[in-house]
Structure formats: C-alpha cells, structure tokens
C-alpha cells in the first residue's frame, strides 16, 4: 500500500481529488442551470414581462400628450390656470393642435384618451379638428361657436390631466371616481360599480371556498382511508370532471338547473312542486355558486388528500386510548394535522375564484357578475388601461392576502400535493 503514504489524494489521471470534485460539481451545477434555463426564460417572457407591461399600461397613456404638443407646452407654462375660464392663449394652442391632429390623423387617439374621463369627447374632437384649419382669432369665440362643450371645465381638467403621460386617472375611475367640473369626485350612486363588484367578488369567492372545504373534507378523508383499490376508483370520479372542459361542465349545469331543466322536471313529475312554482336555480347567484363550486372542488380535494394520506392512523388511536372522545380526537389531533392541506386548498380555490370569468358570464344572470367580467368588457372595448388598472388592483388585493396568509400560517407550511 505505497499509495497510503501519499499526502494528497489524487484521481486516476493525477489531479488533486478536491479540485476534480469541485470541477465536477460546478459542471453539474452548470448543467442543472442549463436544464432550468428554458423554464426560467419561459416564465420571464410569458409571466413577468406581461405583468410588468400591464402595470405600466395602467398608469401610462400618451394618446393625448403625444398629439397635442402646443397645449402640453402651454399647460406646462401655466399649471395654475382656471379650468372654468381658460384664456385665449390656451384656446389658440388647442386650435393649433386640433389642426395638427387633422393632418396627422391623431384625432381619434387624442379624443379616445380624453373620452376615458370625459364621455362624449371623441366626436367633439373629430368635429373640432375638421373645422380647426378654418378658424380665425379670437379662437375662444370661434371654437365655442363650433361646439359649446369646448368650454366645459371638466374637459379642460381632463386635458390638463392627460397632458402628462403618467396618470393616476385609470385608478381613480376604477375606484368609482368621476371627473366633474370641480375636479375628481365620487360618482353618483347609480353609476358606481367597481368597488361594489370588488367587494362582491371577494365575498362570493370566500363563500365558494368555504363550501368547497365543507364538501371536500369528507371526500378527501374517505379517499385517504379507503383501501387502495377502492380509493383509486373513487379518485377517478374526482379527476374525471377535472379533466373535462370547463365550458362543458358549465353547460351541463345549465341543462340540469334551468327552469325547464332536469332537476325542475323531476321535482314537478314527483309532485314536490307544481308547474308554476319551478325553482330559479340558474342565471342568478345560486347558479354561479353551484357551478363554480363544482368546477373548483378538485382543487380543494387534491391538496387535502395528499396531506391526509400521510397522517398516521396511530395518532388518532393513541388519543382514543387515552380517553379522548371522537370529537376531541378530531378537533385536537386530526384537524391540526390537516391544516397545511386546508390552507393550500383554500388559497388555491380562493385565488382561482377571484379571477373567474367564463362561468359567471354564462350562468350569472343579472346579479352574478364578478369583477373579471368588467375587465373583459374593457379589454374588448379597447380601454386596456382601465382594464389593466382594475387587474392591478385585483393583483394587489391578492398579494395582500398572500402576505396576511404568510404572517398567520406561514407559506412554508403550504402543501399542494
């Protein structure tokens, strides 16, 4: 054993073992990183970048600022002017910009931007731009003769606000504020909708989470305690709907619950209700809650099941043998051990429910709308900034919830399966 005298361990080709090991390890690390790299890039490109873009969109709009340079400059020099009575110089700058918009075909961009806070301005801008080149001083009288709406204080406040590319306006609108002649104020009762829907969305989501938990807990317990052969069969029953298209499941509920639907027909034929007293279970809040609970149930069952499966039954037996009643055993021994599953399932169901949109749109009826339906409305109506602002508020609310959750339960205790 001559080698034993060697003070330094070397590999077969004579390199020091420590260096060889470090090299091999860093090579493995590099390889591992390269393996993760596609996923990292994917997440970055498809998740982070769009979210950052959306957040920027919600506070940035250059539709007016870029197409009205003269007025932007005038606003910059006279920030304290009186919107109720802008001077001739302001009108002169405005007419100059309108003429320019007509040539550069930016009337629509500018009008659309102002229309977000002052309804009715797109056609006002179009009309003004068409006439602008023919107007002569004094511009104030000339422009007011084209349309008296050009003198509205709210319009001037809107243009002042829009002359800055960065604006809190979309967040104000998303908080039910309206731009009036005297500045931003709470909208009238019959116009307020966003904050109400935010509140409603969170309440409904919480309700659905609770219902899901109550329904899922016994099912998950059964799945975890049955012998493997039976639980596998039961598991398929849980997973089958999970694999079925969302639209199919929603439509199936419509078929079942509508007034001329299967459930009502059955109740009428059995004689429990008469033909005029059919129950309204679809196109209202009941329909939304039933359909959404069903769609989201697997997201509660699966995390609960994964936690319950590894709880040793001997704990409960030990508690019983020490004299605990079955209720005490459940409350003090079993339930605390399922907490990570409850927490994970609830968080998952709640967050999914808050963003739900197709199911409420199809079965919601008049009072089943949620906030995501308004986001979709503004997306299709080309007010992406407002949609982004509502979405950002939703995101902020969920992050806040996540933070509270982390403080109360601890995110490291989360167990998804």
């Amino acid at each position: 054993m001559a080698d034993a005298a060697e003070p330094l361990l070397t590999t077969a080709d004579g390199r020091p073992l420590r260096a060889a090991l470090t090299a091999a390890q860093s090579r493995a690390k590099r390889r591992a990183f390269l393996l993760v790299l596609p996923l990292l890039l994917f997440v970055l490109l498809t998740f982070l970048v769009p979210i950052i873009y959306m957040l920027m969109r919600s506070a940035e709009h250059d539709g007016f600022a870029a197409s009205a340079p003269a007025l932007v400059e005038w606003f910059g020099a006279n920030p304290g002017f009186d919107p109720a009575n802008p001077p001739e110089a302001a009108y002169a700058a405005l007419v100059q910009d309108l003429a320019r918009m007509q040539v550069e075909k930016t009337t629509g961009m500018a009008g659309t931007r102002i229309n977000y806070s002052v309804p009715g301005t797109i056609s006002l801008f179009k009309k003004g731009a068409r006439e602008a080149a023919d107007l002569t001083p004094p511009y104030k009288e000339a422009l007011l003769a084209v349309d008296a709406d050009w003198g509205k204080p709210a319009l001037w406040r809107g243009m002042l606000s829009a002359s800055d590319v960065y604006t809190p306006e979309f967040y104000l609108v998303a908080s039910d504020m309206k731009l009036t002649d005297d500045g931003w104020a709470r909208g009238q009762d019959n116009e307020r909708i966003y904050l109400y829907l935010f509140g409603k969305t969170f309440l409904i989501s919480a309700l659905i989470t609770v219902i899901c938990l109550l329904l899922a807990f016994p099912v998950a317990h059964l799945l975890a305690t049955l012998p493997m052969s039976k639980s596998a069969l039961l598991m398929i029953l849980v997973l089958l709907p999970f694999w079925t298209s969302l639209l199919v499941r929603t439509t199936a509920w419509i078929v079942l619950l509508q007034e001329q639907g299967v459930v009502n027909n059955l109740l009428v034929s059995v004689g429990l209700i008469d033909d005029d007293g059919r129950l309204s279970m679809m196109y209202n809040m009941t329909g939304t809650i039933v359909a959404m609970t069903h769609v989201l149930l697997p997201f509660m069952i699966l995390p609960l099941y994964s936690v319950m499966r590894v709880i040793p039954p001997s704990y409960a037996r030990a508690a019983r043998s020490l004299g605990a009643t079955s209720w005490t055993t459940f409350r003090r021994v079993y339930l605390p051990q399922t907490l990570p599953g409850i927490a994970a399932g609830s968080l998952l169901v709640f967050i999914l429910a808050v963003g739900y949109y197709i199911t409420p749109a199809l079965v919601g009826g008049a009072d089943g709308q949620l906030i995501s339906n308004l986001i979709s409305f503004h997306m299709t109506k080309s007010n992406w900034s407002l949609a982004a602002a509502i979405a950002a508020m939703l995101l902020a609310a969920i992050l806040l919830l996540y933070w509270v959750y982390d403080r109360l339960i601890g995110i490291d205790r989360l167990k998804f399966g």
């Binding site: 075909k105 930016t106 009337t107 629509g108 961009m109 009008g111 659309t112 229309n115 977000y116 309804p119 009715g120 301005t121 797109i122 056609s123 179009k126 019959n190 116009e191 307020r192 909708i193 109400y196 829907l197 409603k200 509508q258 007034e259 001329q260 639907g261 196109y283 749109a361 199809l362 009826g365 008049a366 009072d367 709308q369 308004l374 409305f377 503004h378 997306m379 299709t380 109506k381 080309s382 007010n383 407002l386």
Partner: protein, 355 residues
Amino acid sequence: MKKTLILTTALVSFAFAANADVTVMSWGGAYGAAQNEAHVKPWAAATGNATIMVDSDNPAPAIKAMVEAGNVTVDVASVEYADAIRLCDEGVLEPIDINSLPAAPDGTPASEDFLAGAVTECGVSTDIWSNVFAYDTSKFPEGPTTAADFFDLEKFPGKRGLKKGAKAVLEFALLADGVPAAEVYALLDTPEGVDRAFAKLDTIKSDVVWWEAGSQAPQLLADGEVAMTTAYNGRIFAAAMDEGKPFQIVWDGQVYENEMYVVPKGAPNMDLAMEFIRYATSTEGLRAQAQYISYGPARKSSFAEPIIFKDGKTVMAPHLPTAPENLGNALETSAEFWVDHDAELNERFQSWLAQ
C-alpha cells in the same frame, strides 16, 4: 432520414403557410361559415390564392392587439361598425378608397350603389344585421307584434331574454316606450333619456334572463326558458330554417347596423387583402353571402334579382333587416353615439343590473 424529411416538410409547409396564405378573421358560427362559403372559398378558387379563415370571439380587439404588438398575421377582418370607426381613428386600420371598389353591373359607381354610411374611411360593409326580438309561435299563436308587447307582461306572460349590455338594449327600450326612431339618440344623449330607458327596463327587470353570446338567445327560446327574447336576426332565421324551430321574428323596434370588412395596418398581404375586399363586397359577393345567412347586402344592385336561400326555394328578401316592410319602426345604430358613450352607459348598465 425519415425524421428529417418529416421535419423539413413541416417547416417548408409552415413557411409556405406563413407567406402565401391570405388570412381572413371572422366571428365563427353560422356567420363565419356564410362568409367562408360566399367569399373565402370562391375567391381562393377564382384567383388561386391560398386563403384561410380563422375564428375569433370578436376580431376587433384581436387585430388591435396584433397591430400594437407589431405582429400582424391577419389580412382582412370582419368587425362591428363602431369598431371599424374607432380603430380607424386610432390608426389601427388601412384606409380603403371607395373609388377602388367595383361598380354595379349596370355601371353605377360604388359610391352611389352602396347604401348611405355603408363605406367608411377604413371599412366596407359586408352585410346589414339587426337586433330583433323573436317568440315561439307554439306558445303565442296570436303573437306579439310591436316592441311595446315585449314589455307587456300581462298580455304576454313569461320570461324575457335580453342581451346583457347597454348597446341596442337602451334604444329598444325607448322605441318600445313610444319614442320615434329619429329622436332616440338625441334623447339618449340627455340624462333624462337614459333614465327613461332604464325606467322602461325596470318594468320587466325581475323577469329577464340575460344572454351574452349570440347563440344563447335561440337556445333559451328553444329550451322554453324564455317566452320571447331579443336576438341577432340571423341566429333566429338559422334556428327556424335549419332546425325547424317554430320561431317568429318581430321586426318592430329593430336596431340594425353594418358589419365591416377592414384591413389592419401592416397586413402581410396588403394588396391581396384589398383585392379580396373588392371581390367580397362586389354586387355578386354581397348577394352570395345573403344566400347563406339572413343579413342584408348593403348595395342596391344586389337586390336586382331575388336572392334565394341555400335550400333553393326560400326567397330571402322578407327575412332581411333592410326589407321595406321590416323597416317600419326601425333604427340604425349610431356608431358616433356609441363610440362616445359605450363605456359610460355600460358602467351605468352594470350598476343598474347589480342593484
């Protein structure tokens, strides 16, 4: 070797698809099928240009997103009238010269052949469609005949289907309340007019089933969920003709508008797109589409001979929104009004729904 071959073939065909195909984006369903049969397939056959049709829930936001992202893959899109105007204002669409459109067979120039407003700066009408209401004749043999009947729960008991949105619904409410068509938009521009429309809707609010997708309306009627419903007239016609449903359209109080073909800025095959539009919106092109769906051509010359439905016997004229007997109490959607007030009135509408 075989693998490489498959791979290269796939790549080549992909490149071919990306370069040579003219892509038309429409709404899918019976409507997209009609445009596909009447415009896309015959044009591809006649010119030899590979042409495909893709579906979208609403092509307008889709092409706006493409233009903003600088990655336009669509050459022609079918969008609502108000969207054609708004997107044009926002610089998303390519202008179309009315003088480049083909004249009528008798030589009448396109600018005189098209109905008023059917050609805008960036769009050409592909048809005129309408918001009407319909009922099941087996439920009401002596059916409702006026818009006011839709709101008469005593004479015609039963639930009502209405589109969940402000557009066309507020106008319908005012027409039913006895406002003459010519005054509807002037009235709706005032707070009192909006209040009056909502007050009319209040009278049936608790009996309304709201629908969102166009296909839901005939479905609600077929299921017996509603006694009568507003709907797009083509959907009711299709259900009655293709599925033999006993549905009857009431044209009183109809709110109609043009549907427009547009070309997004930066379309990959700009010249072919314009050529396609010239073909599709010619007298024959518009006639051809009306043979598949009951939406009316916007050219006078398309009516020179009777248009026959694809079943070979039904004369289309009485089923079109533009038929003289259907225009008695009818209103054309004001794109200008809705471009200005869409967001505002829909907020009010949603708030009213939630109360």
